[in-house]
Structures are given as C-alpha cells and as structure tokens.
C-alpha cells in the first residue's frame, strides 16, 4: 500500500524535482510576485497604514471610484489607449503590408528603422517627444479630449512597431496563391486585400491591438514627459499620489490596473498563438 503513495526518486534529468532548482524557483517567485500579492491584498485592508492587517473592506475601492481626479485620469488613459491603438493598427498594418507586398530600395533599412522604438530606451523617447512638442509649440490648453493629442501621438509612435511586427509574422504564413487566385477570379488589388488578406490577418490585428492597448495603458515614462497639467493619465496620477503616502487607495488603483493589463495581455497571447498556429494547412 505504502509503495503506491511514495513518490519515485527524481530521475537524472528531472532537475525541477531536486532542491537546488526548487530553491531558486521559490526565491524568484517570492521576489517577483510577493510584493504584487501583498499590494493587492492590502488594497482590501481596513486601515490607513499599510503595515498591519486589520480586516477586510472594500471602502478603498469606493473611495477610488469617488475620486474624480483619479477617475478622470483613468478616462484619459483609456481614451489615449483606444486612440493610439487605432492609429498603431492602421500604421502597423500599412507598414507590414507595404514591406510584404512591395520590393523597393531601402526596404531592409526601413524594416530595421521601423523597429527602433522597441529598442530605444523609453526615457530617450520621452525626452525627445517632449522636446519635439515644445519646439513645434503643440497647443497645451485644448478641451478634452484634444488635450490628449500629444500623448496619443507619442504612444502611437512607440507602439505601432509592435503591431507591425505581429502582423508581419502572420503575413509570412500567407499563401500568395490565394491572392493570385482571387485576382484570377476578377478581384482588384483592394478587393484582394479586403476579401482575402484581411481575414487572414484578423487574429494578428486583434492580438497586435491588444498588445498596443496594454502598452499604452500602463506607460509611465513617455507619458510623464508629454503630459501637461490637464492631461494626467492613470499611471502618472498614481505616481503623484504615492509621493504623498502609499495609501490603500493607491493599492486599489494599482490592483485595478494590474487586473486590466493582465486580462488584456492574456487575451492577446491567446489570439497570437492562434495566429501563429495559422489556418489549417492546405
């Protein structure tokens, strides 16, 4: 009977069942996720201070939703994310399709330059954007939502390459005979694009869109440099709240952001997997 319950000794390649690797894993999990779990847990803590657990409450979420400044920042963030996602998809789709469809001089150069915003440090992007906006005299005092224009432009600039790369990867698996065939049946270039290529790209467009949406939603550095006094976003607002004190309200706000970002990222990953798996082979 005992033999049934005793686990076999780890095999030669089962490193994950030996103690050194388990220790490293535990440490990694502890340092990576314990703070996040604590942050989320203390957002339900019934105390002004974030040190001792006093009991469960939802009152900081109530306070959060009653905080008009924070809610405005949240609305700003959503608006910016939505607009920059739309722009990123249009730009990313055009760039990816253009690079795929046409051979032109400087194609490889453009391909690498396009991906620059992914590797350039955000702080440089932020400073450059700020300098650019100041130099061009971008109007600061527009009514909502036009006061968000500068941030939307900055966000689109750094996030469209992500959309382009996801769409490009999907285009690689496109069977060009499908496009030729549609043309042969009488479709013009635009119809081929709408009827045949777009349906093929749809999972990549959705995945790329969700990716850029989350990138925009939780971006701090670039936003910090491009936002004015009236165009504060959610992450920037949280930052300013933390500068006074880390209240459970901040915890609640952060928890909200984490939940939205994680949910959207998970969705994006799933769609991307489907995009990579592709349509069943012909």
């Amino acid at each position: 009977m005992r033999i049934l319950f005793r686990r076999a000794r780890p095999g030669p390649l089962e490193y994950h069942r030996r103690w050194p690797l388990r220790l490293v894993m535990a440490a990694a999990l502890l340092f990576l996720y314990a703070p996040l779990v604590a942050l989320m847990a203390f957002s339900f803590n019934d105390s002004r201070r974030n040190i001792v657990w006093h009991g469960f409450t939802l009152k900081y979420y109530e306070k959060l939703f009653a905080n008009t400044e924070l809610m405005l920042a949240f609305a700003n963030s959503l608006t910016i994310a939505l607009c920059s996602t739309l722009i990123s998809i249009i730009l990313g789709l055009s760039a990816a399709y253009g690079l795929w469809r046409f051979r032109f001089p400087g194609r490889t150069l453009y391909q690498s330059v396009m991906a620059m915003p992914i590797v350039i440090p955000e702080i440089c992007m932020g400073v450059a954007m700020m300098a650019f906006m100041a130099r061009t005299g971008w109007p600061q005092d527009l009514v909502w939502p036009f006061n968000l224009g500068a941030i939307i432009i900055a966000h689109s600039a750094f996030s469209f390459p992500f959309a382009a790369i996801v769409i490009q990867a999907r285009l690689e698996s496109f069977n060009r005979e499908l496009a030729d065939s549609a043309q042969d049946l009488g479709a013009g270039e635009f119809r081929v694009f709408c009827d045949i290529i777009l349906p093929h790209l749809r999972p990549a467009i959705v995945a790329g869109g969700l990716l850029t949406f989350t990138l925009s939603l939780d971006d701090f550095v670039i936003t910090f440099f491009t936002s004015g006094p009236d165009s504060v976003t959610f992450p920037v607002k949280i930052y300013s709240m933390v500068r006074f004190s880390v209240t459970p309200e901040v915890n609640a706000a952060s928890t909200l952001l984490i939940v939205i970002t994680v949910a959207l990222t998970a969705l994006a990953l799933r769609l991307q997997q489907r995009a990579a798996a592709g349509v069943p082979a012909q």
Binding site: N175, D180, S181, A182, Q183, L185, R191, D195, Q282
Partner: protein, 363 residues
C-alpha cells in the same frame, strides 16, 4: 467581328520571358485549338509554369504576343482575362465555405443573387460536390478541395481553363480516377483546357495534343501517339515514354537516301537527308526476346546477357547487356508465348525488332 470556329483560341507568337539570368521561356510560338485538351509537359524548370502564368496574366512577357480568343492580351490584367487558373495548391479560400468559394468570382462580377445561386449549384453538381455547400475547406479532403477549385473556375465560363499540376498533390489511385474525370469534365463543358504537368504519362493519357518543352523552348507539338511513335528529336523521344538509344552516323551518297551506320546495329538504309552524328532508337515494347537466333529478313537482332528483371505484374522490364554503356531494355508482357521464355538473370537472349520500328532521331 465574328470568330471563326477553326481559329485557334490561344495564339502565342515569339513569347519570351527572362528571370534574372535564366531564360525561362524562349521565343515560344504555338496555337491551341478551340475546345481541345492541351498539355504542356517538360522537366522541372523548362518554363511550362512560366508560360502558364503568362497566359493567366501573372507574368508579362518580355517579348512576343499572346492572343486569347482573338484578343491581344498584352495590356489586359489577370482579372480581366477570359481565362481562369486552377492553382497547384488549389488556393481555396480557407475562411469561406464551399459555396462562397465557388460564388466568389460571380459575386465580384455583380451577378444577381438568384442567378448566382443557380450557377453555383450547377457548378457543384458538375464536380460532384452537391450537398457540401456549407462545408469549410479545412474539413474537405485534398481531392474535394481540388473539385472546389475546379468549380470556382468553371462557374465563370472562361474561354480557357488553365490547370497548374492539378494532380500532383493526390495519391496514385485518386490521381488515375481524376485523370479520367478531368477528361470527361472537359468534354462535358466543352471549354479548352490547358494543363501543365511534369508527368508525361499523365499528359499522354489525358491530352488531345501535347507540347513538349525543354529549356524554355517548345521541342514538339503533336498528338500523344505521334509524340510516342514519331518523336521529332532525341529529347522528346527520351522524355516521352521509355526508349533505347544507339549512337550512329548518317551519310548520304544518293540524294534522298541515307545510310546510317551504327557500331551495334550495323547499317540501315533510310529515305531522307542527313549528314553526321544521329541517334537510332527503339521502344522497349517493340523488342522480342528469344533463346535462339530468330533473325528474319528486315529485322534487327542483338545478342546479350540478361542482367535484370523488373516485375510489374502485367509486364516486366528486362535489361539485357549488349556490350553498350546502357543495357537494352525490353518490355515483355506476362501473357502468351512470353511466359514460356523462362526469363532468368545470367541467361543468353536474342533481342530482335523490325527494322522499321527503329526511329531515326536527328539531335
């Protein structure tokens, strides 16, 4: 202007196409007759697919003219040509149902809905896919997807249907059934078919006429039996079916008559005119085997050792070493007197055939 029925439906004149340093198609001129089943065959890289893509409008010729149904196609885009192409990968749209695939071309042309429905139904009946309208392509077999591709092209009633290696992706049994069906389909709809294939036996069994291509050029255009029995050159003889080749030298003393001397076959007299190196050839099924010399007047005979037998059920290919670089191949049916022959490797056999079955090939 009315088109005359006996005008060719496709007229190619000096069509050339170069890809980089490769001359894919080299000054091809040929006519395809109205309503015939025409095949373009040749080894891979001979330019047959490039030629087909030029007919469909996906490549532009560097030189020459393409005329389809009496119209010059030089300036006509692929989508406006009176031809449709069945792609090698079938290119069935994966996000559309069978009916949507077949109706796609009609939808684009602005065909009214009732008419579209009726024509799609008729096309699906034609390719025996009735009842599958709502299926998605990923639930179909390879053979069914090909039928969808065929119906999708035929429903537009093109003047010419182009088929790019249509049977290469099917397994052997299905391929043979599909060969018969394609021929039947072509006779039913009466549309000119132009098929590209690397498989000469496929072309022989299906086509009314065949163009054999080599290195971008058309070497011969003829009916299957003409190609087989009277190949115009050594390449065609070797590419179509199996054949035994003998080097020889021709000389002409009397105008109109030549004498061909071959180290193995001796001297043969023929009508015609030729000078210099030529090739003599004989098809394997023309050769008879016997254990004794059986020389009759007007027959050629060689003696050799049997080196191999490849058994195919209904017939065998027998290889006899006659002292040449290549063994002589004879095809022996497994019926009648041949069964009494008791073929065995190492045995001595006399191979004989009629002198007039010997083909004279110029290059």
């Amino acid at each position: 202007m009315m088109q005359r029925q006996d005008d060719p439906i496709i007229r190619l004149r000096g069509v050339s196409k170069r890809f980089g340093t490769v001359q894919a198609v080299d000054a091809v001129s040929l006519d395809v007759r109205r309503g015939e089943f025409f095949a373009l065959v040749g080894p891979s890289g001979c330019g047959k697919t490039s030629l087909l893509r030029m007919l469909a409008g996906f490549e532009t010729p560097d030189a020459g003219s393409i005329e389809i149904d009496g119209q010059d196609m030089n300036k006509v885009e692929a989508r406006n040509r009176p031809v449709n192409l069945v792609f090698q990968s079938y290119a069935v749209f994966p996000h559309m149902s069978v009916a949507q695939n077949v109706g796609y071309g009609l939808k684009i042309s602005g065909c009214p809905r009732d008419d579209l429905q009726a024509r799609v139904d008729a096309a699906l009946r034609l390719v025996k896919l009735e009842g599958q309208e709502a299926k998605m392509p990923d639930t179909l077999s390879g053979g069914q997807r090909q039928r969808v591709a065929l119906a999708r092209a035929l429903v537009l009633r093109p003047a010419v249907l182009l088929l790019d290696e249509p049977l290469s992706a099917l397994d052997a049994k299905l391929r043979e059934a599909m060969q018969l069906e394609l021929v039947h389909l072509q006779k039913t709809v009466g549309i000119t078919f132009v098929i590209v294939t690397h498989d000469q036996s496929e072309a022989l069994s299906m086509a009314d006429r065949i163009a054999v291509m080599q290195a971008g050029a058309v070497r011969q255009v003829a009916s299957p039996s003409q190609l087989y029995d009277a190949p115009a050159c050594r390449f065609v003889a070797d590419f179509i079916g199996r054949i035994n080749l003998f080097e020889a030298v021709a000389s002409s003393r009397i105008p109109g008559r030549i004498r061909i001397n071959s180290p193995l076959l001796g001297g043969i007299e023929r009508e015609g005119s030729a000078e210099g190196p030529v090739t003599l050839a004989v098809r394997p099924e023309k050769i008879q085997l016997s254990r004794m010399p059986a020389a009759q007047p007007g027959w050629l005979e060689l003696c050799g050792t049997l080196t191999g037998i490849a058994y195919f059920g209904g017939y065998c290919n027998v290889y006899v070493d006659i002292g040449a670089a290549q063994p002589l191949m004879a095809q022996i049916t497994n019926a009648g007197a041949a069964r009494a022959l008791e073929l065995s490797v190492g045995g001595k056999f006399w191979c004989s055939w009629r002198s007039e079955d010997t083909l004279l090939l110029m290059d």
